[in-house]
């Protein structure tokens, strides 16, 4: 394997000194994850160096030239988002930056590892973003009772007063709550359900102000770009989607954890860092991701475009590997039931469609051949018909299961349909807290 393209979060801590090259930025791919936790503010400044004040327009240019894309799931160009909020921020009242530190998808752990390792980097990034869009308020959204919340609070307290009003807000443990419009709605009203696609948050978000919602990893990348520049940022990773990325590898692997990779590293190399080889099935991109046959996708590079071309999705950057005797049908049914339970229950496709396809997948696992027909009919009628992307993700993960089952391992599906069942290992896909979203009574 290409050792230089990986940095694992399980690396033992070393004594920290100033970074060997703190004026030009870290060399290699260990950028976001320092060798040991850096929670103290002076230590953070010694290691990464100070963020030099930059004017807002030049910061936006810098981000555009860096080619940074959002790391929360959608992979949207960060500069485009900054521009949209900055132009909306021309109004009398300033914009708001929301740092999404919730990591709502239970298959991913990268943001909480990042916040544990380098909380000040995420804070730096949020403040840099605030100056880029003209925001006078920054909100760190964390899950209720999470360690990320206490870590960020301690780090913020240590930095002392700032010109920007900064707060840490705890949001309920709900899958849809990490959706940008749901976060904004929660901050405004206490109701954590998505708002729908009619009201873009970059125009009218928190308190009706233009709002930039960015994921924790995206902000940490921003903090480094502001320090070391776009040429440094682009010196690692694939040219079309440069830099490093945090990937969570879990499931049946010898060394589960979070790795920092140069974008464009192959699936095979990423798995090797977790002590695994590319065989069997895996869920890539989160609960709303895609099932893949690892042997087929082994040489695919971990970029948004290459994963999409291979029928996968980058999503939240997680790879959950099934054991060799794992069952794709049982796992998918479990994921679908979870997604049905954790939806916002606002739209028809979510209220009726998701429970229906979850039941179909369970029936298929129980040997009901007609369930396959029902799924093929229902999946397209649910896709893209909700107010948010929650049902679309469920449809995509279900459809990918059917595709992969029709591949080289189709004997597994036949086994189920002939009622021989399967002696599968216990499910490995983490589902997190199951907590149906309901309207908050006020």
């Amino acid at each position: 394997m290409n050792a230089s393209s990986l940095s694992t979060a399980s690396t033992a801590g070393q004594n920290l000194s100033a970074h060997p090259d703190s004026t030009s930025g870290p060399i290699g791919v260990a950028r976001l994850l320092p060798p040991a936790r850096i929670t103290l503010w002076p230590e953070h400044q010694r290691y990464y160096g100070p963020v030099l004040p930059t004017s807002a327009p030049s910061l936006a240019d810098l981000v555009r030239a860096s080619g940074l894309r959002g790391r929360g799931g959608a992979g949207f160009p960060t500069a485009t988002k900054i521009d949209a909020v900055a132009s909306g921020g021309g109004r009398p009242r300033g914009a708001v930056v929301v740092a999404n530190c919730c990591e709502g998808d239970p298959t991913a752990r990268k943001d909480r590892v990042l916040i544990t390792r380098a909380p000040h980097l995420v804070i730096d990034g949020a403040l840099v973003a605030a100056s880029a869009v003209g925001a006078d308020r920054v909100v760190f959204a964390v899950h209720q009772g999470s360690r990320s919340g206490s870590t960020l609070r301690a780090a913020l307290a240590e930095r002392g007063a700032a010109a920007t009003a900064v707060s840490v807000v705890e949001v309920p443990h709900r899958f849809v709550a990490s959706e940008a419009s749901a976060l904004v709605r929660f901050l405004n009203t206490g109701d954590a359900r998505p708002l729908g696609r009619l009201a873009p948050v970059w125009e009218s978000g928190v308190d009706g102000r233009p709002t930039l919602v960015d994921n924790a990893e995206t902000l940490a990348q921003l903090a480094l770009i502001a320090r070391f520049g776009e040429r440094w940022f682009r010196s690692v990773g694939s040219p079309e989607e440069p830099g490093t990325a945090l990937v969570t590898v879990g499931g049946a692997v010898p060394r589960p954890g979070v790795v920092e990779i140069g974008t464009g590293t192959t699936i095979r190399t990423i798995l090797a860092a977790a002590g695994a080889s590319p065989t069997g099935w895996a869920l890539i991109g989160g609960l709303a991701g895609r099932w893949v046959d690892l042997a087929v996708i082994a040489t695919t590079r971990f970029t948004t475009a290459d994963l999409a071309a291979a029928g996968a999705v980058r999503g939240v950057g997680s790879i959950i590997v099934l054991p060799t005797n794992g069952c794709l049908l049982t796992e998918t049914a479990r994921v679908l039931h979870h997604l049905a339970d954790s939806g916002a229950r606002q739209c028809g496709p979510c209220i009726f469609g998701l429970p229906a396809i979850a039941a179909d997948m369970s029936a298929l696992a129980a040997g009901d051949r007609m369930a396959l027909t029902r799924l093929r009919r229902r999946l397209p009628t649910i896709d893209r018909r909700g107010a948010c992307a929650h049902p679309d993700g469920a449809v995509a993960v279900a459809a990918s299961a059917l595709t992969v089952l029709g591949g080289p391992e189709s004997s597994h599906l036949r086994q189920h349909l002939s009622h021989h069942g399967c002696r599968a290992a216990a499910p490995v896909v983490p589902l997190g807290v199951v907590n149906p979203t309901r309207a908050v009574s006020r």
Partner: protein, 74 residues
């Protein structure tokens, strides 16, 4: 499709507001069908402008005003 089609009728539904009354599909069966739970499935392409008046009455028929009608821009 001819060049005139870019001036067609575009239907959008607010999926949060929609309560599956199904009246829109009765008013405009050429453009709107219902899924198995009674929620409208809208055409993926703009409808002919000849259907504009009927589309407007479909929108007006919705008890919760979840259906919107607009013209596609050329």
């Amino acid at each position: 499709m001819n060049a005139r089609s870019d001036n067609g009728v575009v239907l959008t539904v607010d999926p949060i507001a929609c309560r599956a009354h199904g009246l829109c599909a009765e008013e405009l069966p050429e453009g709107i069908s219902l899924d198995e739970w009674g929620y409208p499935i809208l055409p993926s392409r703009p409808l002919s402008r000849k259907l504009l008046r009927r589309a407007k009455s479909a929108a007006a028929a919705c008890p919760v005003l979840a259906l919107r009608v607009s013209r596609s821009r050329g």
